[in-house]
């Protein structure tokens, strides 16, 4: 029916009493997400908005609430620790919204997660949503519409724009996953494409990439060997100058593989059409889906 999250997902929010944490915890609750616990060390025993119990640690939260996903708003200096805490507590899905985590912290975190069952989304990402069921993140819920397109993206607001264009055309989404804009992060484009591929509810896939790194190339290579679902891509940053960090820590062209041109070439080489204008994402997706049906 979806990937990663659904109506049965039980969420703990780490950093629930902070400014961003409390704002978005409320928005997720309003969307219908089961937020069953919050964590703020030192405030264990209190309640958030009189409804969500707060714990001193994820381990305690898990015992008391049987949460199986975590949403992290802990500030950058403590975010790597928060991720490892959730992983050590056996949380299966960790969504880390926090922006600005030092790269070498994420290098250590990723290494620690190797060989565990924990999946990390982000950091520096909008999160993941299965429209109508569960929103674990900061995306505006109302723009989404349940349906059959799976979206995976390295971006935030650009994804909202894409979702908006799809929903406006009546094209709903199975799940939308923002994997984040940092150079070292959790689930990558290939892994999420793989999940969509195995999800019966997903009929087509939209990949939104950008300059920097070579995950798009890896995604194209993976798609070629493993995926049979119609997929289209959009890539941001064709006008970005090399060597400059364009907002996202990961959006910087440091070699030939990091350019949009190289990424377009990789997608087109395996038969994934690339939408060239950000205004045409809805139309491009629509066209790809029609082509499959006919």
């Amino acid at each position: 029916m979806s990937i990663l999250v659904d109506g049965a997902t039980r969420v703990v929010v780490q950093g629930i009493t902070g400014k961003a944490g409390s704002f978005h915890a409320r928005a997720c609750l309003d969307y219908g997400t089961s937020i069953v616990a919050g964590v703020t060390p030192g405030r264990g025993g209190q309640k958030f908005d009189d409804r969500v119990p707060i714990f001193d640690s994820v381990a305690e939260a898990k015992v008391a609430s049987a949460c199986n996903a975590s949403l992290i708003f802990v500030p950058a200096a403590g975010a790597a620790d928060a991720i490892l805490e959730a992983a050590a507590a056996g949380i299966e899905l960790i969504v880390c919204i926090t922006e600005g985590i030092p790269i070498l912290d994420m290098v250590r975190v990723r290494r620690c997660l190797e060989g565990t069952n924990t999946r990390l989304i982000g950091p520096n990402c909008p999160g993941v949503i299965t429209p109508g069921q569960c929103k674990i993140g900061i995306m505006p819920g109302y723009i989404h519409k349940p349906g059959r397109v799976g979206i995976v993206s390295r971006s935030g607001t650009l994804t909202y724009e894409a979702v908006w264009q799809l929903s406006q055309r009546g094209i709903g989404q199975s799940s939308c996953v923002g994997i984040g804009g940092d150079p070292v992060h959790g689930l990558g484009l290939p892994e999420v494409i793989d999940l969509f591929d195995r999800d019966p509810a997903t009929e087509a896939i939209l990949v939104i990439g950008e300059i920097g790194g070579c995950e798009e190339q890896e995604a194209a290579a993976f798609w070629k060997t493993s995926s049979r679902k119609p997929t289209v891509a959009f890539l941001a940053g064709v006008t970005a100058p090399p060597g400059r960090r364009m907002g996202h820590a990961g959006a910087v062209i440091t070699g030939a593989a990091g350019t949009v041109e190289a990424k377009i070439e990789a997608f087109e080489a395996v038969g994934i059409p690339v939408i060239l204008s950000p205004a045409d994402i809805g139309a491009g997706m629509s066209k790809a889906m029609t082509a499959t049906v006919s």
Partner: protein, 396 residues
């Protein structure tokens, strides 16, 4: 964040890397004094700009070479005079070049061999990689393309760390054997320690040299830092203001905005980095060119919108302003109020095109409409971009 060579020398020096003695000067007299204090010539005078290719560069004044060898302190003064205050154009600066406000004066040891050493993050493998080559002093990207086997890489498991034997292995692979092996391995190990302890994103020594008396020396170093980690390195963070060469970027930095200066004519203000890039891209598709990348962030408030407007309006290149907001966390009515306030206050001479979409976009548009200011709006992204390109053309 890249730092100037003289700053890199100072940081690496603290980690015990072998750097030829020298100093940085802002005046020709100071440059001469530095040379006089050094033990012996020849001396090298190096323009301090944040771009490569300095040696083959040329000043707008006609003076040739951003890096020059001098035999005597008097010559050092002369060369520094020609460089300081000038604008240096290299293959990496673009035709507008970069201003040279400081020169590095250092001893120039006799070089017997030039090698290459760098540590950076391998994003694909998610770990640091230590790279060495026996071919240094040249463009390493070219070496990588034409003779990939000449580059030797050691990937470092972050849990195990980088051990001396790995440094020795790399030293051997790049031909530093015999009495050079242990000193070279020591240099590599120290550079790695610097990389990790200072949260560098790049630590490149090119060339790493074998100099007279069979010694190893760091002749030139390019150092970049992970901006996310600057909070734990206040001393390095303090370099930040010094290393911004673009005046617009310096202003944006003060205002805490995520800004990159470009050479086009449409000032952009967007929320979100991906959307900001896509916005630049679509302007380009319709024949316009962005004057900047500016991401006001997901949670920007009215105040930041005002500041951002100020920077766009102060840019003489800007012939039109394009505001593109997808309201998620950020509500479009709040943005609209920020725009109205900024515009009423500063009375910009260039046209403004606004596209608001997402949360409260109707209210936002209503606020703009009721303001009686000359703000052009559009619902559709393509339409908005075309209007912005057209607006910039009007004022040309």
């Amino acid at each position: 964040m890249n730092v100037f060579e003289y700053q890199a020398r100072s940081l690496l020096g603290r980690y015990g890397l072998p750097i030829p003695p020298g100093g940085v000067a802002t005046s020709p007299e100071e440059a001469r004094q530095i040379a006089e204090r050094l033990t012996r010539g020849p001396f090298v005078v190096k323009s301090q700009i944040l771009a490569g290719g300095r040696g083959k560069g040329r000043f707008l004044s006609g003076f040739s070479g951003g890096v020059r060898l001098c035999e005597h302190p008097a010559e050092v003064e002369e060369v520094a005079r020609a460089m300081l205050g000038g604008v240096l154009v290299t293959a990496q600066t673009g035709p507008e070049g970069r201003p040279v406000n400081k020169v590095l004066v250092a001893e120039a040891p006799r070089i017997q061999r030039e090698l290459y050493l760098a540590i950076l993050l391998d994003r694909g493998r998610r770990c640091p990689v230590v790279i060495g080559s026996a071919q240094g002093g040249v463009d390493i990207e070219e070496v990588a393309r034409e003779e990939p086997g000449a580059l030797h890489r050691i990937w470092v498991d972050p849990q195990v760390g980088f051990w001396p034997y790995q440094a020795r292995e790399l030293a051997v692979r790049i031909g530093l054997r015999g009495p050079l092996l242990n000193p070279a391995a020591d240099v590599i190990a120290r550079l790695y320690r610097f990389f990790c302890e200072c949260d560098a994103s790049l630590a490149e020594v090119n060339p790493l040299a074998v100099i007279e008396n069979e010694k190893i020396a760091v002749i030139d170093a390019k150092i970049g830092f992970d901006e996310n980690a600057l909070f734990r390195h206040p001393e390095i963070a303090a370099y930040r203001n010094e290393v911004v060469e673009d005046v617009r970027e310096a202003e944006a930095l003060k205002a805490g905005l995520n800004y990159v200066g470009l050479s086009g004519e449409i000032g952009c203000m967007v929320n979100g980095a991906g959307l900001a890039m896509a916005t630049m891209d679509i302007l380009h598709r319709y024949g316009g060119e962005p004057a900047n990348f500016l991401d006001v962030g997901g949670g920007a408030d009215q105040n930041q919108v005002t500041k951002a407007f100020g920077i766009l309006m102060a840019d003489p290149r800007v012939r039109a302003i394009f505001v593109h907001i997808f309201g998620g966390i950020m509500r479009c009515d709040v943005i609209a109020r920020g725009i109205v306030e900024a515009v009423s206050h500063a009375k910009p001479k260039v046209p403004i095109v606004v596209r608001l979409q997402g949360t409260n976009f109707e209210e936002g548009k209503a606020i703009l409409r009721q303001s009686d200011l000359l703000i052009r709006t559009a619902d559709d992204l393509a339409d908005a971009a075309q209007k912005a390109v057209a607006a910039a053309r009007e004022t040309r």
